[in-house]
């Protein structure tokens, strides 16, 4: 069974998002929600010993959204959660800024923790998004991290 999606639940966008607004929107999906787990990824300053001044994300338009939607559907089916939203920013991102937000909602907490953890790992593995870091030594496209 597939769950109908609303476009606002899967987004790749340049602009920042408001975590509270996104949580409130997801809480309205069902009156049976008892647990909300969020994963927020942010830009960190040190990577592999180098100081980063800024980050830049690029994606493969359409395929990245398609893969995120597949990921969302699989999370709902496999973990039995009520719903999930995933937002990923692209373009230039400063240190400390938001990069990615995953929200899992369900009746109980257990499955939302598992679904969030699985979703961020799966996103890094299967969604065509690439990160470029600017450091004192120049710009470098990042290799995948576990």
């Amino acid at each position: 069974m597939t769950t109908a999606t609303a476009e606002w639940k899967i987004r790749i966008q340049k602009e920042d998002f408001n975590v509270n607004d996104e949580i409130e929107a997801m809480k309205k999906v069902s009156r049976n929600i008892g647990g909300v787990t969020t994963f927020l990824g942010t830009g960190r300053e040190i990577s592999k010993g180098e100081t980063i001044s800024k980050l830049n994300f690029e994606h493969y338009p359409e395929m990245a959204e398609k893969k995120l939607e597949e990921l969302r559907q699989k999370a709902i089916k496999d973990f039995g959660i009520i719903d999930m939203s995933i937002i990923h920013r692209i373009g230039e991102i400063d240190i400390g800024e938001n990069i990615v937000l995953i929200i899992a909602v369900s009746e109980h907490r257990g499955e939302t923790f598992k679904a969030c953890e699985w979703a961020i790992a799966e996103l890094k593995r299967t969604v065509p998004i690439w990160k470029r870091e600017t450091t004192g030594s120049g710009e470098v496209w990042v290799s995948p991290t576990p």
Binding site: E58, H88, V127
Partner: protein, 83 residues
Amino acid sequence: MITIKYFANLKSIVGREEEKLDLGPETTLLKISEAISQHSPNMGELIREKKVMVSVNMEVIPPDAVIRDGDEVALLPPFSGGL
């Protein structure tokens, strides 16, 4: 015509974001890599050595897949989204 798309560091290797190749009604990844090698030997090599993933019409394909006229082929370096 087949559309070839390049992403991330691959764009600087080939010096372009996209190109069109006319390789007949059906072709293979090997033939595509040989055509690309004409202008970018390093890129052709990366494809043959399976150092990049390849998608056709936005689905990742195995190296022996048949690629048809009109397909959109994307060459994808390892992903690094998330935090």
